[in-house]
Symmetry: C2
Subunit: 315 residues, 2 copies
């Protein structure tokens, strides 16, 4: 057995599910139960852009998986499986030890989220590490949560706390201090909000990956509504609170939170709160939707705040 | 609309099918007709490894699509859709003109193979261009062509001609001459053998991407049979013949042909020949399968030929 094939057998075959055909054939084969459909999300992460060279290898595949699982969650689908493309810098750093750690992280998340590897490709590069994953979820046909279903009169909600990942990146860059390590963890390992049965409850959903303000703009544009965001209501973690109000813009425009942004009609607010409470997921009302266009970020006094930066641009 | 989103709208939305939700949501949504399953293949191509910096941008996405479509064809599935991840070197080279050409090539192949874009991701890198695609095909449940079904007594066949792509790479590297440009085209633009209804006809199939000898080894290993390859029967293109017999090893061990390698039982040889003839695809018998293990490359006199190089190693 030659180098590449034994490498795949050693590291990746243990991750592979039945549908992968043991990574021994030209394709994986999956089926979709009657009445269901597949939600598909794909993301790429590049060293020095989406993660740092000294991030632990255990976290890299997990972060990639979780970013995609967050998209799956945003559609109201249940995690199912994924493919993985790894483009490895030549040189000694990405050796068997590195891959063992990388795969151990993936293995942990496979167990946590109930997904298996379908297939993949490994290639080499003279440049930085590039990781791509395509993740599949399953859901009942016609029940997908979309970005374009929000309506005037809905209220706006987020899960979890907002801005931790952006602050976490700043701590890793040495620009701010967080002795707890909480913020850095939030940057390295998002918590996709899978498992919330919000289909039929909320009018619109998306995950917050480009920054809260910009993602509000996406909902507003796709649903053709206006959003009033009550900035003081946007939940902050204790670690973010410690840093004080000067970081508000960073928190609201920074990316990588991977929390859910939801538009909920008044009659379902109680159900939304109950479902999240039962799942142990904090959910907070942060604004309201009305006729019109655009997003207004309002302070405690109802005045519009202007931010310099709209959100994260990928390139 | 900010930079990334208008970029996607401008270049990629025209490629997107209905299931992509117009590239406006967190996921694509696909369904699978009752009685069918999905074949999934994913591949990555890296500049300077899988293509050359001065390859025309029109050909890059097409080559990536076609390599994957070749895997889809090898399972006996019909092309359906794909996702695309583009990691772009920073700098002026990959500008709007470059992307227009890149997308024009994809658009042409979408029409030719009947696939549409489901979704994707664009990221930037300090390294070379990296392209990944995950391609979906559909087939009737339980009819997939596998690598592990070959049996002693089957004959071994290939579509098309073998070794052109490896020779084409050498012409592009200036190591050999081919004034016709045929060999370089074969390197740049493989012809995936989609549309052959070989399910139920052949016992095993795979596409030749790592080199004929190595791919014979895959069939032999997975099917637990021995293969005798009649090297003089392996079809050569006129351009390859012009170069003479000195290039035999290169032709049999070089990668990137993307022809089909088939194991056919005696009773279906006529059907195989007829199906290929009707599709206008040349098919040639190049060997036989017997009990045992391993692959023997035999010359005209039935003597075993030893090659120095087993086939293409990806990294």
């Amino acid at each position: 057995m030659s180098g590449e094939f034994s490498f795949i057998a050693r590291h990746f075959r243990p991750l592979a599910g039945r549908e992968s055909l043991d990574l021994r054939d030209d394709c994986a084969l999956i089926s979709c139960p009657p009445g269901q459909e597949l939600a598909i999300s794909t993301d790429t992460m590049v060293e020095n852009v989406h993660f740092l060279p000294d991030d632990p290898p255990e976290t890299l595949g997990r972060k990639l998986l979780r970013c995609n699982l967050s998209d799956i969650a945003a559609m109201g689908a249940a995690p199912y499986a994924y493919t993985l493309n790894v483009t490895i810098p030549r040189g000694p750093r990405h050796n068997d030890t590195w891959f063992s750690a990388f795969v151990a992280g993936l293995s942990e998340d496979q167990a946590q989220y109930g997904v298996t590897l379908l297939g993949g490709d490994t290639t080499s590069t003279s440049g930085p590490l590039v990781l791509s994953a395509t993740v599949f979820g399953r859901l009942s046909k016609g029940t997908a949560l979309r970005r374009n279903g929000a309506k005037a009169g809905d209220s706006l909600w987020v899960t979890g706390t907002i801005g931790d990942a952006a602050l976490g990146l700043l701590t890793l860059q040495g620009k701010i201090s967080d002795p707890s390590g909480f913020l850095a963890d939030r940057y390295r390992l998002p918590q996709p909000r899978t498992g919330l049965a919000l289909n039929g409850i909320v009018h619109a959903a998306m995950d917050i990956s480009d920054g809260l303000i910009q993602d509000c703009q996406h909902i507003a544009e796709e649903s053709e509504v206006a959003i009033d965001l009550q900035t003081e209501a946007v939940p902050a973690s204790p670690a973010a609170k410690t840093l004080g109000p000067a970081w508000l813009e960073q928190r609201l425009t920074g990316g990588d939170d991977y929390e859910l942004l939801l538009a909920c009609p008044p009659e379902h607010e109680h159900s939304l709160a109950r479902i999240c409470r039962e799942a142990g997921v904090p959910v907070t009302r942060i604004g309201s939707l009305r006729s019109g266009r655009g997003v207004r970020a309002l302070n405690r006094d109802g005045q519009v705040i202007q931010f310099l930066k709209g959100g994260w641009q990928h390139f």
